[in-house]
Every structure is written in C-alpha cells, then in structure tokens.
C-alpha cells in the first residue's frame, strides 16, 4: 500500500508534463499533411480514411492523405530505401497500417518512432496490461511502438445458394472438397490471408498448441506441422486448378466466389462479406462461416517510421483513431463494420450507448457467432510456414 502511494505521488507530477506535451503536439501538428500508408484494396477502408481526413481537418487542421498500398510491405521497403539513402529526416511515410511480420521487421531494424502509445490521451480506453491483446502483436510485445485501431478475426464466407451446410472444421473441409472437386481454394500464402489460412489449419491441428507461441525451432516445426502437411497434401488435388494456381489475395478470391468459380472465400474481417454484399460485389446469399473451435484473430495497428516528416500529425491521427466516437463509427456496418479495440469496461455510459445503438445486417455475425478467438502463432512460424509452402508447392 505504502509502495503504491509513493508510486502514485511519483507518477502524478509526471502526468502534467505529458498533457502539456500533448498540447504542444497538437500545435505542432496544425497544418501538417500526414501520409497514411494503408493497404488500398478495400474501398470501404479507403472511404473511412477519407472520413478520418475530413474530421482531422475540421478538428485539428491536419490533412490525412492515404497512400494506397497493394501490400503493406511496400511502405516498409520505402522506409528502408530511405534509410539506405541516408534520409533520416523528412521521410515520405508518416503513418503505416501494420501488424505481424512487417511490424517485427521494422521494430527489429530500428525503423520505428516511439514508444509513443502511452502519450496518447485516448490510450486510457485501452487495456495495455502486459500480454493483453492490444499490446501484443502476433505474440510480439508492441512496447508502445504501434497503436491499435481495429480488430481482425479470420472468417470464411460461402454462398448459401450453392453450399447448404459448411464443414465443421478443417478436417471436415477435406471431406467437403473431395465431394466437390475444384470448388475450394485459398489466396497464395505469400499473401497475408493465404498465410492465415495455413495458420488457422496449423492452430487446429498442431499436437502442442502451446509450442506455437514460442519462436519456431526446426525440431518443433517438423513435429507440429506434420499433421498440417498430411492434411494439405490430401486436400490440394481437390482444390481449384488442382492446387497449382492460387488467387493473389482475398479480394480476387471474393471475385471468384461471386463468379461461381469457387464456393468459399476468406477474410480477416468478420464484417467484410456483409460490406461486400452492400457494395454489390458479393451476392446477398453469402454468409459468414467459422469453424467450431474458433478462429485466429489479431489487432491491426498504426506505426510511425523513425524518419517520418510529420510525427506530431501522425500521433494525432493515432489518437483520433482510438476516440470512442471514432471506434463506434468504425464499427457501424454502413461504414466499416470492424470490431472496436477498446476495452468495454473502460468506456463511459455515453460511449457504451453509442456502441449499443449500432445497426445490424443479415450477413453480419455477432460476437457470439464468431466463437472463441485463437491466439496467433509467433511471427517466426508464419515466415517459416510460407517459405516451406513455397518450397513444397512452387515448382
């Protein structure tokens, strides 16, 4: 108790300068243009970022310009290229939508600004305790170098006009594929969603799931992935184009699903199918399907490169993304439908009411429908898994 008190008295004087700093950050950010490097393949996310730009302009005089990436790695390599050219200030990238291996690569290479998350006033709505979902990115501690903004969870979707009953788990998927040859595929594992499909199967089939949260070892890898590859080798001949070609990403696969070339899609956003139905990309008969044991999930973050030209503006955007009003707007199915990253127990009544009042849609699952969220394996597993897949199936 005594210790706690003294800790509090120590912490109090520190709190005031932090807020003074924030006022300075706001002043510094005014008039800046923040280049937000975000995957541009989803029109709804692009529209949401445009809304963020309008709001930031109105509230803080900050312009947000989305740099639409086809792969987040593009922004990472851009920062590297700048470092390679000795450009340690005034970099082209101010803010990146990032997570997993890209974050690990940038963090390890010292390419990130921070730690900055604790300085954000809206960080108080987050559960940032050690090991919490909002402070752990694919089992790697974020250490304040990236700020959460949306929750992602792996889901499948299927057309109820063509598939009456989806399989119960990955083993059931094999039986289904044998009965319907050529009607199942997944994105190329060099793409994030394709890799996530392999991880989902790995998490379901690994002999010792706890081993997956540790950095991968050769022996552990061989042992834990053996059932996965046996299953995959059985599945592959019954896949679309006999498993020799794969859609580039989940959007291309969504097109295949809409065209009727395949019967399943997959996404890392439970609201994606409902959103695509609304856009007229997918037919209204599409629904979300989740294996019975649950699916892997993680949080999307924003990070600021070490050489960003507009760090103050970027921090302001990261903070705005955590505002309960922003998060409720984002969770609105008419906007983005992405689930909030805030800790519900830390919200005040007004914020809670805003979340409760959000509309729903037939293809939009509830949190209950989605089942348990399984932990992501350590990023080293994904790297090895995708490399191994390429070795085995790229001839």
């Amino acid at each position: 108790m005594k210790f706690l008190l003294s800790a509090l008295t120590l912490a109090l004087p520190l709190a005031t300068p932090a807020f003074a700093d924030w006022a300075q950050t706001e002043a510094e950010a005014k008039g800046q243009t923040v280049y937000f490097n975000a995957w541009g393949g989803d029109p709804r996310t692009n529209a949401f970022i445009e809304w963020v730009s309008e709001q930031m302009q109105e509230k803080y005089g900050v312009t947000v310009e989305q740099v639409k990436l086809s792969d987040t790695a593009e922004a990472v390599s851009r920062v590297q290229a700048e470092k390679a050219a000795g450009k340690d200030e005034g970099g082209a990238v101010d803010l990146i939508w990032i997570n997993g291996p890209n974050f690990l690569a940038m963090k390890e290479a010292g390419l990130l600004h921070g730690p900055f998350v604790a300085d954000l006033p809206n960080a108080k709505y987050l559960d940032l305790s050690t090991g919490s979902a909002a402070s752990t990115d694919f089992t790697v501690p974020t250490d304040g170098y990236e700020s959460p903004w949306r929750l992602a969870k792996f889901v499948f979707d299927y057309d109820t006009d063509r598939v009456s009953e989806p399989p119960k788990d990955m083993a059931g998927l094999l039986d289904w594929a044998k009965a319907h040859p050529g009607r199942f595929t997944h994105p190329n594992p060099s793409n994030f969603i394709g890799a996530s499909f392999l991880k989902q199967a790995l998490v379901e089939m690994a002999l010792d799931p706890a081993a997956l949260s540790q950095p991968v070892t050769d022996a552990g890898y061989a042992k834990e992935t053996a059932p996965l590859w046996a299953w995959y080798d059985a599945l592959r001949p019954f896949m679309w184009r006999e498993g020799t070609a794969f859609p580039e990403n989940e959007s291309v696969q969504a097109q295949l699903l809409a065209d009727g070339e395949v019967d399943f899609g997959m996404h890392f956003d439970p609201a994606a199918p409902a959103a695509m139905i609304e856009q007229g990309v997918l037919p209204p008969s599409v629904r979300v399907w989740v294996p019975e044991g649950g699916t892997i999930g993680n949080i999307s973050y924003v990070a600021i490169p070490y050489n960003a030209a507009h760090k103050a503006g970027a921090e302001l955007v990261a903070n705005f993304l955590l505002d309960p009003a922003t998060q409720a707007h984002m969770q609105d199915i008419r906007v983005l439908g992405s689930f909030s990253v805030l800790d519900p127990s830390k919200l005040d009544d007004a914020a809670k009411a805003a979340f409760a009042a959000l509309p729903t849609a037939p293809a939009l699952p509830t949190l209950d429908d989605l089942g348990p969220t399984l932990s992501e394996p350590h990023p080293s597993w994904m790297t090895k898994l995708t490399e191994d897949w390429a070795q085995r199936y790229t001839k």
Partner: protein, 551 residues
Amino acid sequence: MRLAGAIVTLVIGAPVMIGAVLTIATAFGWQPGLGRVDLGFGGFVEGVGAPGILTSLRLTLVTGIGATVLSLAASIPLARWLVTRQSASRWMTPLLAVPHAALAIGLAFLIAPSGWASRLVSPWATGWALPPQIVTVGDPWGVSLILGLMLKEVPFLTLMTLVAAAQRPVSEQMAAGRALGYAPGRAWARIVWPQLYPALRLPVLIVLAFSLSVVDMALILGPSNPPTLAVRILRLYGAPDPAQAVPASALAVLLLAVMAGSAALWLAGEKAVARIGKAAIWQGHRGRSGKNWPAVALIGGGGALALGALGALILWSLASFWRFPDALPADLTLERWASADWAGPALTSLTLALASTALAMILAVLWLESEDRAGRRLPLGALIVLPLLLPQIGFLQGLTTGFLWLGLPPGALAVTWAELLFVFPYVMIALAGPWRALDRAQLASAASLGAGPWRRLVAVKLPMLLGPICAAAAIGVAVSVAQYLAVLLPGAGRVQALATEAVALASGADRRLAAILALMQAALPWAGFALALAIPAWWHRNRRGLRGGAL
C-alpha cells in the same frame, strides 16, 4: 550542338546508367545505407536458389521470345494486306494507343472461365451453369500473357513495316514479282519483306526487351505461382526485409543478362533464317494465288478480342450486379462512375503526360535544330533507345535510390523524369523522320528573305511540322499514360496515376472500379490521338499542301 548533346546525355543517359549501376552494385551486396557493404555473390545464390526459379526463367523466355516471334510473324501478312489499304491502317491506332494495363484488364474480363465470352455462350450452348474448370487467365504456360502482348505488339510491328515500306518502291516490286508469276503472298514475304527487315530490327529488339520484362500485363494475365522473372523481382523489391533488395537486384542483373542473351540469339537467328530463306527463294516456288487468309484471320481474331475487351470493360463499369452465366448485367447504372475516385488519378496521369511530353518535345526540337545548325547528326543514337532496350525493372529501382541521393524525393517530379526516359525516345523517333524530310527549299527561301535561324525555326519549320509534332505529342502522351513501373517505383506510392491504380484495383474485389480506371487509362491516349488529328486539320484548313496524312 555540344550543349544539346550534353543536355540529352545528362537528362536521358545518366539516369539510366546510374540506375543500372546501382542495381548491379546492390546485386553484389552493396547497401551502404543499411550498413551492409560485404560484397559477394550471396544475392545471386539466394535469388537463383528460390523455389520455382527455373519455371520463372522458362516463363520469361517463352513469353518474351514467343510474343516477339509470333507478333513479327503475324505482322507480315497484315502489313501486306494494309500496304495497299493505307486508310485502313488507321484502325490500328486505338490498339497502338491503348495502355497495356487497360488492355490486359479488359482481356482478362473477356477470356476468364467466368468471363464475358463464356457468359455469352452459357448455358444455352455449353450447358455451363457454373464457370467451367478450364484454365485461361494466369495459365501456367503464359499463353494469355503472350496473347495480351501480341494484341499490342502486332499493330506496332505492322505499323513499323508500313513506315519502312513507304520508303521503298513496294508496288513496283510487287508488280515485278507478280509478272514473274509469284503469288502476292510469296512476292511480299520473299521479295519485299526481307528488304524491309533491316528497318524492323530495332523495333523488334524493343519489342523483345519489353516482352521479356513486362510487369503490369504479367501481373494481370501471367501465372502467379511462380510468376515471370520481372514480377518476381518486383515482389522481392517490395518485401518487408530490406536485405531482399540484394537477391531482387541479382535477379534484375540476371534479367539484363537474359535480355542480352536473347538479343544475341535473335541476331544469330536472323542469319540462320536468312540462309534458310535464301535457299527457299532460290527454289523459286511461285506459290498459289489466293485470298490473304492469315490477314483476314488476324484482323478478325484480333479485332474480336480487342472489341470484346473494350465491351467487357464498358459493361463492367456500368454493371450493378452481374452473375454468371448472365450474358449481360441485370441492371446498368452510372452509380460507380459517380462514386469512384477516377478523376484524381486521371488528372495526375494527364499532368504527368503533359509534363513529360512537353519536356521530351523541347529536348527533341533542341536536338534536331542543333543538328540542322551544325549540319551533321549528333552521335548519340544508341543513347536515345537505351531506356527501351534495357528491362525497366533492371534500372528503375536503382534510379529511385539514385534520385534520393541527389536530393530528389519520391513524388511527381521524380516520376516525370522517369517517364521522360521512355517518352523521349518515341517522341524523338516520331519527329526525326518528318523533321529531316522537311522541304529544305522553303527554308532556303526564308533565309534568302532575311530570316535568321530562330525565325526560320519558329515561323517556318514548326508550323510546317505541326502535323508531325501533334502526332509525336500524342505518342508521347500514350507512352506516358501507359507507364506503370516508372510511376510505382520513383513515385513511392505518393503518385497515384491511372496505371498504378488500375493494376492495384485489378487485384481488388470490385471489378467495376478496375473497369472504370482501365477505361479512363485508355481514354486519355485516345483523346490525345483524336486531338492530334483534329488540331492540324483545323489549323491548316486553308493550307492544302499541309493537310492530311500525319497519323
């Protein structure tokens, strides 16, 4: 004279050399910015050791050389058909002007298993209620990619053949051949065409270099697991680990070697073909007279594919929802045109095109006028075409690093410069012929009336050359709007032009957005060519001697 040479060397030659040298240095492990300067062959070992690399190499060779050989072969009967129908050759202009990415997107919409072609005949003729399990777009042999490349390259090589034919007494030679009893096809292929070939050598090598290293078309039509060498290199450059730039550059150097080897092989092949051809000519078979069926088939097939691709793009851009196997969308709506952001990228592409074309035009006039005043040609011929003969991905990433070192940040300026490297050669080639063929008597009269060199340039040469200048500008705009890598790499994502947006959206979920961007990308060059026809016609409406025939 010296000045013009120095400027062109600095603006066009230097960036290409800097880019290529930096790429080669990176291939050997030179990354000073990352504190890595341990030189060695590690990048080559890693790059060549990647899974499926042999397949990538084979794909690159088969699609690159295949598209070149087939395009050249197809251009022979087509040119014969068109050489007597010059006005019909104008119908190739839309295909010549359409950017590769836009054409590829339209073609993919047409020939995919669930594409428009399959929808038109299903289910009433085929019984397909679901798309057939056949492999078209992205096929592992690269056939779709070759087809896409051919749609662009056949008109180009045909046009080059017609340009070469215009400088020779073709009709006399054809008549002589007929008099000796040769069928028209034989006379063309064995008497006329071999004489034209020397003028085709450079265009063919440009086509070869382009086909071996094309990225945007290969992303849309080519196989993906594994892709062609060029696409593989682009993916490695985009990998999160900065060390991947080393194997990427090593493969880029390999691609440079593949290009050099293929060109050498081509030149050796020419000799062999010439020997065999000569033997065939000596035999003196006259051939049977008949209709030019190959040309008819090529015009029919190519025309159907091109129109089908355009139709598929237009329908998709207007579709509300379009399920297989409906032949047409359920509803047509302008809603996507109203809501999609196509104006921004279109304005960017237009600005880049105007800037790079204007600069290229100034450089070209500077060069040609310097030649006139010095009375001899600048010895820089190879420099002009260097950017066209090297694989783009072999030097553009190195150039982006080079720009950064020079303090030129990624953005519109860097992209304009990069585009200029590709726009200038075409503008120069398009303008040089008419410029050098200008009637010197007019200039002599002007001089005798006391007009100095500047006055002769501004008051005589440029107005007389308005037609060719407009045509060269239209070509410049078309080349600029088609650039993909030159926007993607030096633009570092800050420059969103139609090409990059269209290719990105081609792998997005909403086909209608990709269709809109592709249509806009095609519309800009078409508008440019329409203007290039209209402006001189209007300007010279009362100058009969200057009217007609620029395009």
